[in-house]
Symmetry: C2
Subunit: 320 residues, 2 copies
């Protein structure tokens, strides 16, 4: 067997920083989670990351190949600069890559978290054998990453891949980005939960309604998923509707990119078959004929700790 | 001055084949047009192209650099194969590049006509100084070509760039591709003309209505443009509406590609300022904040004979 190689993966979030030691097969050897303390400003966040990495490496007798960081915001990858990540007050532009590299004297790769998720699937996961694929990460937002000939596509300024803000209805629901009818307004976590809330009065006998009678139970994507797995028709209709809208949006993306493999991950991907079937059916009903038979909608392989794994994959990924 | 270099450009259409001698600055030295005789099948079309090139070169004492062909359909560029061009009966897959190269013993480059239009702007036109741009060609259909770092983006099978079949309303008008609400259903020639027809009874005093009282006058994009240039409010509203819809679609494309220069050419681009202003305004109203200030909507520079010029540019374009 090839000698084991180890990278550090840092999954930077607005609430917590998750850090892990991951080998070249995508296996996590050790992981920790610390507060990001984002409200205290960028200096504090950077020292949290540094402290976290020291804590992780403490007592480990290994040589690490490098440190990968998946971050929200627009990333200037060549310089490792993180610009204006949402939910990080006072941030502007921070040379995160340089600051971490100076501390640890290691190769540091910083990448947008949605792109890191795509690279994670490319290196360890469902995209290992694919040359071209579209990665969708479903969560609070809807992240996108595009792999072209085994490379991440970054666009002119590193901001490419915002598939969640592709609109399927120019008169649709208002999106927090300022546009209308973005894919995110149909399948982002908070919009999904709001849809259920709005329709709940029409479904008083649904399992979701019954589950919510418990005052300790919160309406969440997880609860919708649980109800659907028990065949609750209302929950299934919510999931199918969201999947259909995502599929309509992806049909346009496929027509433009001529890329027909779609990998879907993130929390809401836990909806499983009802979601994946609805997405695939909607894409096939709308995509141009030459692409139709090639369309494949594939569940992401990295699930738990996908953020840590995707970040660590940046170290093993050759970007040029 | 650099020595003049000359290429042959072949603009293959369903009705006619236009062929020209073009120098490396995009200047046409000589051009001819012949029938494509598409109804007689692919062999006949190929011999028309060959006869046309001989006719063009007859009596010319020049060495040509190569032959570029812009064709409808999906092109397998490495092999010069043209697959299933619409309006070419009995075609399937034809190794057009090989057949022409064998006849003339020259370098032959075959490319999709929308991509050739983008390469034409890149080599000779409005895209000469740009590294990244989106090219839109407005006509019967709405063609798209995407230039990434001075290269055309072809996708996995050479079918990329179908921006005209990006949908802006999943419940919108039925498109001939089978989807709904495609950009083409708002700004393709026949849809534009149909829109005017439908709304004409509500605008009996418009200039368009007056012009159509002449029984020899046909409703066409040109007529709409002529009326608009005389400040006909109905004509202007038709153009602004179509431009707005194109802009909504482009906003999504920009969010995904992080490419903010848009070059628009083709017949309907002759609508001029009212169209371009509407497109830019709509894009800016919908695109994500980091892209907003960078958005530029630029008229194509190649107008007359853009097809011949784009095809000839393929010879001067280094594709790898």
């Amino acid at each position: 067997m090839e000698k084991e190689k180890i990278a550090v993966g840092v999954d930077l979030g607005g609430t917590s920083i998750k850090i892990g030691l991951v080998n070249q097969l995508g296996k996590i050897k050790k992981k920790i989670s610390i507060d990001s303390l984002a409200a205290d400003g960028p200096k504090r966040v950077v020292s949290q990351i540094i402290a976290g990495i020291y804590k992780l490496l403490d007592g480990q007798k290994i040589k690490i190949e490098g440190i990968g960081i998946g971050s929200p915001g627009i990333i200037i990858t060549e310089k490792g600069i993180v610009a204006d990540p949402p939910n990080f007050p006072g941030w502007k532009k921070v040379p995160l890559g340089k600051l971490i590299a100076e501390e640890f004297n290691k190769k540091v790769v910083v990448e947008n978290d949605a792109n890191a998720a795509a690279i994670g699937e490319l290196i360890y996961g469902a995209g290992k054998k694919l040359n071209y694929f579209i990665m969708i990460t479903l969560g609070t937002g809807v992240g996108g990453g595009i792999i072209i000939n085994k490379k991440i596509y970054r666009g002119e300024t590193g901001g490419a891949g915002e598939i969640g803000h592709s609109s399927i209805d120019y008169n649709g629901p208002l999106c927090k980005c300022g546009s209308k009818g973005c894919i995110e307004t149909y399948i982002g976590n908070s919009y999904l939960v709001n849809n259920v809330k709005q329709q709940l009065p029409d479904h008083p006998h649904s399992l979701i309604a019954k589950m919510l009678q418990d005052p300790n139970t919160q309406l969440s994507p997880k609860l919708i998923s649980d109800a659907a797995s028990m065949n609750d028709e209302f929950a299934l209709s919510i999931i199918e509707n969201a999947g259909e809208k995502l599929g309509y949006g992806l049909a346009s993306v496929i027509n433009i990119f001529d890329i027909t493999n779609v990998i879907i991950g993130g929390g809401v991907a836990g909806f499983g078959k009802p979601l994946f079937n609805a997405v695939e059916k909607a894409i096939k009903s709308r995509v141009m004929i030459p692409f139709k038979s090639r369309v494949k909608v594939i569940p992401a392989k990295l699930r738990n700790d996908a953020g840590i794994k995707g970040a660590s994959a940046l170290v093993f990924y050759k970007s040029s």
